[in-house]
Amino acid sequence: MRESMEFDVVIVGAGPAGLSTACRLMQQSQKEERELTVCVIEKGSEVGAHIFSGAVFETRALDEIFPDWKERGAPLNTPVTSDEIYLLKNAEKAQKLPNSLVPKTMHNEGNYIISVGNLCRWLAEQAEELGVEVFPGFPAAEILYGDDGEVKGVITGDMGIDAKGEQKADYMPGMELHGKYTIFSEGCRGHLGKQLINKYQLDSESDTQHYGIGLKELWEIEPSKHKPGLVVHGAGWPLTKETSGGSFLYHAENNQVMVGIVIDLSYSNPFISPFDELQRMKHHPIFKDTLEGGTRISYGARAIAKGGLNSLPKMHFPGGLLIGCDAGTLNFAKIKGTHTAMKSGILAAESIFTAISSEITVSNELSSFTEAFKTSWLHEELHQTRNFGPAMHKFGTYMGGAFNYLDQNWFKGKLPFTLHDTKPDHEQLKPAAECTDIAYPKPDNKISFDKLSSVFISNTNHEEDQPCHLKLKSEVIPVEKNLALFAGPEARFCPAGVYEFVENPENQQQQLQINAQNCLHCKTCDIKDPTQNITWQVPEGLGGPSYPNM
């Protein structure tokens, strides 16, 4: 028998969505003088350790939860001072887009350049002050279902299990955490969120979800080149016509800049390596001139759910809610997901508090959430931008961009039709034989680096003696299908060198080696594997990257 603990609300994941839910719940509980027990569990070794977004942040949702965030010392220190957008034509040339031609969603006046990790660290402090129990280092490993098929909580991961599945000296079994309501806010492609979507068929009325992979580095640059508040976005090179995505460079505080690339996982050429695209991208003068002479501090990667409103599944199910990027509330037209995730958390808290106060039984679904969502600014915002992603896919970067300019600036997203994009990303890969191999340049160790030295500064670490958390449904597919047909794309799309095809010394055959301890928890393998053979499971608590200021 596992031990169990009872809470009113159990929240899985201490990101912007989960922590906003927790804070709003406690604010309401204090206002209405109704006691409430809320816990947040987080797989990272501390709050913020796995938060990768470092971002241009819109304060709308934060203003709603903590209108006095400035006085409370929220880590928003760098207001955006200017926006620059470039079309990168090749490795040398770029054309600056005049402001008047930029889609409105890409303007950033009034926003801040922040580390979302630091925002979460601060939000967790606020939550704890309000009386929330925050438990970093405890992953939710399994969903607990009740007799009527409702979610009644989660089980935290066991600690101290060795690679063979045996208990070690420090073995500690996971606990059952029971909640009247359980909130899943694991971020994009949460491993439990995925199970919930399948079990309750939450996506039966929505388009398939679409994803991107974001890779980013944090640099400390020469003070003379540092322009705090400058936001640079790039489109085009090094990505080709068939691959959509974009690059960014944000000047944050303390002489630091965040530089990175987002690549849509709908790409078709299996030879694409997002990691190497980032490395060569940095050599473009737009980025290189800023980075030269600086020091790279950190590196990381994370998948993002970018399907928008068309791909948004139903967010409620018996016993709980799926919120934030775990559902897919990111606004891709703004390339912003933090304020929308937070808003979904606020709405979740409000409907849960009403439900708990009115003693509705658990088997009742929180359909009130959907009503509140549909009348919120969050829905309005996502509705306005619903065509942005599909347009880029359908018409390509240039024509899609032009469509988006007209759609967003002239028609304010009110065109009376909706574009759909229904092919899942993992089905997009073409056989290697039909594609050209890409020869990426060697790193120069000044601007560009190799994968392993990059993974090193993500600070990722996993207890070595534990079962592999990347499960293969079939052991033969990696070689017989992925390698034979697609030239082993997992070795390239994984930004951390987890998947490696090596020769078996006994029979000289190729085999897949999984270096699970390198994993950055980005979830790309779970999304892009062409046969969906890889399932990302949660490793032992405390494992994973430790991102500072990302």
Binding site: M175, N459, P548
Partner: protein, 249 residues
Amino acid sequence: MKILIMVKRVTDPNVTIRPNMDSSNVDLTNVKMAMNPFCEIATEEAIRLKEAGIASEVIVLSIGDKQSQDQIRTSLAMGADRGILIETDATLEPLNIAKLAAKVIEEEEIDLVLLGKQSSDKDNNQTGQMLAAIKDWGQATFASKLYISNEKATVTREVDTGLQTIELTLPAIVTCDLRLNTPRFASLPNIMKAKRKPLVIKPIEEFGLDLTPRFKMLNVESPQVREAGDILGSVDELLEKLKTTEGVL
């Protein structure tokens, strides 16, 4: 028997650190901090002695900034009874830490002090020894086994030549090495309970000690990066390279 354990807040050993821009110190902005792993081992050993009925109380002491409360709470969640934080924003040298600890030992009438053999951030390996000198107590450093009976501690030490077993009369100081035990994980209910365990915060001024530093840190640098080597195909090639490109033969 009352046990005092000493715990230190250090940078998480799994995290890479670097000097700040003016090379005056290590940049610790938002770097993940943790309990020194050797202090976890000291905590675990103390709790085992309590569980075995040998210790009556386990008191955890940390000396550092306000956030060091986190590490005390971790110790309490593992099973220590109560905590004391001597709060200071200054970075204290081992001798000053030992002086402060000696004061606490007197106040609390401690019989056994367990601490890590060294901290993973500065690797000083001095505090335990200095504390033993100040108190004029017996000391056993680098302990990999600890056995207590009849006011005596039998300690196996990991020394350069192998293992050495010594006997000490209590009160005594024992510093813990890696193989002494495997620290437990704190469970969720224990983490919640630890929040309600007593933790006293004492301002450092209360102790009236002269804590003037004896060292001055001049500069912090990253270790030199080792350049990548070349893999050569044959001895001839090596000789050729040493003669021509390297010019050493």
